[in-house]
């Protein structure tokens, strides 16, 4: 046996928002091992299964390595999916890009800028996203630019923007080691942010921190918790307002902080009067004593923090849910100090960066509003566009782009790296919208459920084949480095975008080039920094070894580990009065159970990466978690095959009878195309954030025979929690 030794290449993990530092060990362009540097400030030598083993999708035989055009022309309404390479023609990059440019420009000239839309990508680099939104804004003059943040933390973002003026995680994840009490809600941290969860466990076990979990699932962190508030889905506002009620009535709030740094206190106080522990117990099912204990624990702590994820935001009142958390932090002054904070854990490796880069329909890079004249002028100057040239109207969001796919609406969709045909709610409807489109380009690694609808498929490179930066959940901008040569004819996203933009520019005959001749991603970051003040001090040399946390105001600025020490971006933070609202679709006699959806440790979102990795061996099929109480009621045994129906669709999968989920609620992970949970989910939206209610809809469940199972694999026993 030969031992292989070499110098590994340092880079950043492409999976979750933690942003773990990786070392890729390469032999003959083959990455055979990943390690983590022990001196990394982010992950301190630790990784999870995805970071350690999940990179082999790079070499999967199904990866597309040549540009493709569909053999049969696709017509609106009749658009179909083709997963089979025989239905595609391998073409040169020139042909693929010329054809894409021609079709998009034709549509633009015929129907105007509103007919074009783009999904940017929270997995791609800051540089890629900056360029893609620039291409659509500067050339097609449309703000129909969004990415999966809409399906993810939109509720949190809107609430934080309104209450504080900035949506990022306020503190650094590793500060958890100095926290006394922390709340985890709507986050299955051990599976979705594994490296943050091991810091949480250490804070509890080694430093004596107290944990309050508020979640309808008995997630692994409950094993480490002082209190578990097992609320009914959708009752978050009630639970957290109940805590606020106790804090107010027992006079535990931080009067000085409230007086000095907040507004709207009286109207908020009044709205909390009705949330007595008794009232909240009735709504949420949480024992009133636990609400009182949680309130005292959080309010009396020296340093307390709140960590949350999509259980809070993916709701028809996701904005209110987030407000209920912000209210608590403002009431107790647990924000603006080390070890405290309002910490929405961002899901994707670069969802923070893609948002900073302006991959959103209402904002330019740096969160300047598109309908603000002054902001538009800044970008017209930066991008060499005639005054008045940029579109001043807010664009469509992710879900709106699809629901507007009809004549007179969106005709062309450009998708970079996203898989809406897995991640949109109510997939049957989403498929029908997708079929309505006139022209679709997908830039990805694999022909996934969305790429299968495309007219043109542009094979991009993976994170290991390109340079760039990702911005992690605690705002740390870190380098992504090219470790191997791009496989086949795949090209880095930024190169594809520049090459395409030049062709579009030519066809449009726009005299003023907005500049697409970048030599490398470093030049793109320099331009990015020149238009986004919080990135001004970032350049590749400064982040060579350790990433910097934004805002980085100038090239001597050391970065910002925690925000709001002295003031909030709005000046004073705002309390928001709240009222309790129910979930959109309640359980009833026909659909008696509530479906909750989410992720598992081994898989990543739409599955494009991990279902094409050996990791799939560890968790190869979808399971529906059902409480033993409900299992008995519906005569379902562990690992029986069951059909789950909602008003919108049905899927067949195995049942996992477990007390991880509370009675009345079933849980299905959404990664599995053959049993995609989003066929069932409800596309009702939060009125402000326009985020769908992925976390709760009404379903029924019944046992069916084994032969209904779409993929007849033996169940892989898993012993982990």
């Amino acid at each position: 046996m030969n031992t292989i030794t070499n110098n590994p290449i340092k880079t950043t993990c492409p999976f979750c928002g933690v942003g773990c530092n990786l070392e890729l060990h390469v032999k003959d362009n083959f990455i055979y091992k990943v390690t983590a540097p022990f001196d990394s400030v982010v992950n301190k030598g630790n990784l999870c299964v995805k970071g350690r083993f999940g990179y082999d999708f790079i070499y999967n035989k199904r990866r597309v390595l040549n540009p493709l055009i569909r053999k049969v022309d696709q017509k609106p309404v009749a658009r179909s999916q083709s997963f089979n390479l025989d239905e595609w023609r391998e073409v040169t990059w020139d042909e693929a890009l010329d054809y894409s440019a021609k079709r998009m420009v034709e549509i633009y000239k015929r129907d105007g800028s509103d007919a074009l839309a783009v999904y940017c990508c929270a997995k791609a680099t800051n540089e890629d996203n900056y360029l893609l939104q620039k291409m659509f804004r500067a050339l097609f003059r449309t703000n129909n630019v969004d990415h999966c943040t809409r399906l993810c933390h939109a509720g949190s973002v809107v609430a934080l923007q309104k209450a504080i003026g900035s949506a990022a995680m306020s503190n650094t994840a590793s500060e958890i080691m100095d926290t006394d009490v922390f709340i985890v809600t709507g986050s299955n941290t051990t599976e979705t942010h594994p490296i943050i969860s091991i810091q949480m466990k250490a804070a509890i076990e080694k430093r004596g921190a107290k944990l309050i979990v508020v979640d309808p699932r008995r997630i692994e962190m409950v094993n480490f918790a002082t209190l578990w508030l097992a609320e009914r889905p959708g009752s978050d506002v009630a639970v957290f307002s109940g805590m606020a009620h106790v804090i107010l009535s027992e006079n535990l709030y931080n009067k000085k902080f409230v007086d000095d740094r907040t507004e709207n206190f009286e109207i908020f106080r009044k709205s909390m009067e009705k949330f007595t522990p008794e009232y909240v117990e009735n709504i949420s099912g949480v024992d009133r004593e636990k609400i009182i204990q949680a309130a005292r624990l959080y309010a009396n702590a020296d340093r307390a923090a709140i960590y949350w994820a999509l259980g809070i935001s993916q709701s028809t009142h996701g904005t209110d849910n987030a407000h209920s958390l912000i209210n608590l932090a403002l009431l107790t002054g647990h924000v603006g100090r080390h070890g405290t904070g309002l910490n929405p854990l961002r899901g994707q490796n670069n969802v923070q960066g893609a948002s900073d880069a302006g991959a959103m329909p209402w904002h330019y890079p740096g969160y300047l509003e598109v309908d603000d004249e002054h902001s538009a002028l800044i970008f017209e100057k930066a991008w060499n566009i005639e005054p008045g040239g940029l579109n001043r109207n807010k664009g469509l969001t992710t879900t709106e782009i699809l629901s507007n796919a009809h004549p007179g609406g969106v005709r062309s969709l450009y998708i970079m790296g996203e898989n809406p045909m897995m991640t949109e709610p109510n997939l049957n409807k989403a498929h029908r919208h997708m079929q309505e489109l006139e022209f679709v380009v997908c830039q990805d690694l694999f022909i996934n459920e969305s790429g299968a609808y495309a007219d043109v498929f542009l094979p991009a490179t993976t994170f290991a084949e390109k340079d760039g930066t990702f911005t992690n959940t605690d705002r740390r901008v870190q380098r992504v480095r090219k470790a191997i040569k791009p496989l086949g004819n795949s090209r880095p996203d930024w190169e594809i975008i520049c090459d395409l933009a030049k062709r579009i520019e030519k066809l449009l005959g726009r005299p003023n080039s907005s500049h697409w001749d970048y030599q490398n991603p470093e030049e793109i970051m320099d331009e990015f920094g020149s238009v986004v003040p919080s990135y001004r001090g970032i350049n590749y040399k400064r982040i060579e070894k350790t990433g910097l946390q934004t805002p980085v105001d100038d090239e001597n600025h050391p970065g910002t580990p925690f925000l709001y020490a002295d003031s909030f971006p709005l000046g004073k933070a705002k309390f928001y009065p709240l009222d309790y609202k129910t979930i959109d679709e309640q359980a009833d006699s026909q659909f008696p159970l509530i479906l909750n959806t989410g992720r598992v440790l081994e898989h990543w979102h739409g599955g494009t990466l991990t279902r094409n990795s050996w990791i799939d061996d560890l968790f190869p099929q979808a399971l529906v978690e059902i409480n033993p109480f409900d299992a008995e009621k519906y005569k379902i045994n562990h690992l029986d095959v069951v059909k789950v129906n909602s008003r919108r669709g049905e899927i067949v999968l195995r049942a996992d009878v477990t007390a991880k989920t509370i009675p009345g609620v079933v849980f299905i992970p959404f990664h599995f195309a053959e049993a995609a949970a989003n066929f069932l989910t409800n596309d009702a939206l939060d009125p402000e954030a326009l985020i769908p209610e992925f976390k709760a809809c009404a379903v029924k469940i019944e046992k069916v025979s084994e032969d209904h199972l779409p993929n007849n694999l033996l169940y892989q026993t898993r012993g982990r929690y």
Partner: protein, 240 residues
């Protein structure tokens, strides 16, 4: 400021923080004490004894990775008694374990003049390689029982508690509970254990296959069944 103490290391007077271990105190003045089981990110456990030093007045040699300094201590890190002890430990390791992929330990063996055949009649520990999942293999033939993998699986990092010692004395080995295949244990496949393994006893599967001579193309063409072999149980287990 924490309290300072004065002591001597190799006849050189030094002053250092009283909470330091001898190992770190020596390091702070540029004296390098060799270590094997010790790792900066793991709780020091004094298992391998390669870091022992002689402390004047102490009956036995003292493991420097766990022993704290104290005022007036006189420490020798590389005298004849210490070096002989290190040499013997290395010779015992060489006689029982496959260290072919542990260049740092082999280098140490050279440095201390360890005879690879000192215990030529010793019985080698050669348990069968365990290949029970498609993430990584466990080749305990190479394991020196440093315990780091167990520690990071427990409180030093992951809180998964999937592995621990089994057996006694010579038959001691790292194992899962009831020798269950890893996927059936509380293992979350974080691979922290691989990150701290000093001898390549724990190895990512694709690296292992590459070293066995497979081409990367062949590796990536393996089917789910080929890469996800069922458990090969360790030799010591009786088939029931």
């Amino acid at each position: 400021m924490s309290e300072k103490v004065k002591l001597s290391i190799n006849n050189k007077e030094i002053e250092c923080d009283k909470d330091l271990t001898i190992l770190y105190a020596a390091k702070s003045v540029g004296v390098n004490i060799p270590t094997i089981c010790f790792h900066d990110n793991c709780t020091a456990n004094a298992l391998c004894r390669i870091c022992v030093v002689e402390v004047k007045g102490a009956r036995t040699l003292i493991p420097s990775c766990v022993a704290k300094v104290s005022d007036g201590m006189e420490i020798e890190t590389h005298n004849q008694r210490v070096n002989l002890s290190r040499k013997t430990i290395l010779e015992m390791m060489l006689s029982t374990t496959d260290l072919s992929q542990s260049p740092e330990i082999l280098e140490m063996a050279d440095e201390y003049g360890a005879n690879h055949d000192r215990f030529s009649d010793a019985e080698r520990r050669s348990p069968q390689l365990i290949d029970d999942n498609s993430m990584f293999v466990r080749d305990y033939d190479k394991c020196i029982l440093c315990w780091r993998c167990v520690q990071v699986c427990a409180e030093d990092a992951q809180y998964a508690f999937a592995i621990n010692f089994k057996g006694r004395g010579y038959h001691t080995q790292i194992s899962t509970f009831y020798e269950k295949p890893l996927p059936e244990t509380s293992c979350v496949f974080c691979g922290q254990c691989i990150g701290v393994c000093p001898t390549e006893a724990l190895k990512p599967k694709r690296q292992w296959l590459l070293e066995l001579g497979y081409e990367s193309e062949q590796i990536m063409q393996m089917t789910r069944n080929e890469r996800n072999k069922k458990t090969k149980r360790p030799q010591t287990t009786q088939e029931s």
